[in-house]
């Protein structure tokens, strides 16, 4: 699965921002070493707002899942 890689500064631009009227970006750290901030294909493809069109030009990588914590 492809994900889009963010810098720390780019991550800060997206946190809390809507990409549709009721969807917000959710940058998360992947399981790489060191971890990268990433967003998903869905966020990039579904973005409706011109101010965030730059996410389409972000570099991509294969998703490396982090180790989930036990519940």
């Amino acid at each position: 699965m492809i994900v889009y890689v963010l810098t720390e500064a780019e991550k800060d631009l997206l946190v809390g921002q809507f990409f549709t009227p009721n969807d917000k970006f959710n940058p998360v750290l992947d399981g790489d070493t060191p971890p990268d901030w990433i967003i998903s294909e869905q966020e990039v493809e579904q973005n409706q707002y011109e101010e965030f069109n730059w996410v389409k030009n972000l570099p991509t990588k294969n998703w490396i899942p982090p180790t989930p914590p036990n519940p």
Binding site: K24, N26, E41, Q42, E43, P69, P71
Partner: protein, 275 residues
Amino acid sequence: MSNRYATILALGSSIDPDAQAYITALTTQGYTPTAGEKNGINGLFLNLKGAGSVNSTDNMYADLKIVRPYFGGSASTNGLNAIAPTTSPANFYGTFFGGWVHTNAGSDPNGINGYMSNNFIPSVNMSSNTNGGIFCNVIQNTDVGMDIGCQTFTNFTGLLIASNFFGTRYSRALTTNQFSVAPSSPTNAAAFWGSLQILGQPYFQQNTILTPFSAGTSGRPDRDLLSGAINSNGSPANYTNRARNFEVVLNDVRDTNRPLILKQIVDAFNTAVGR
């Protein structure tokens, strides 16, 4: 349902006012239900009120906190709480984060970073002296993450549902330090519901009357209930990729029949709207 009310509905001259409010909200948010879907929505509300074709006895409406049919095909429609259909967080309108695909069949999180905030904090929004429950009708049999839940600590102090998590399916009560482990062979959603019902563990702790607990040590966590992941002491974790088409948060499960009835109501609605 009274004969008079049934007759009125049969004549097509009336619709349950709460059903109409949900239909109007769907339209406002961009989806206009067909005539058949309106009938399905009306049937859903009548059944929840104990006045429908599937449920004519148990009026559970006052015990409902969230009824989320994930219907309409967008985040704006699928986030609606059908029984309080506004876009206000105070009415538990769901806000989606990260990667989801929304259709009329339901909403599908990506298992990477997709979750939904229910804007619902059990310690605030659930009664302390009733036996609450959460229901999640998953429609995909995958093996990643938590379906819905929140917890304050990392030792299962909270409520959660996972259809299949590290090979084990969990349901957990809205009570303290008790949880139920479902059978180990995951199946589809319907069979999962059925197996839990057979075991008498349909997604919640039965026959337990809760007493007030202090937030942080109780089964009523002081954290927002998340769908598509679990709120792990303030942060989303264990993202799932299981699509779902219905969730219910109930303030009082009341007895063992209610979850069976609720499952029938959900199935009837899904059939009526063609999914």
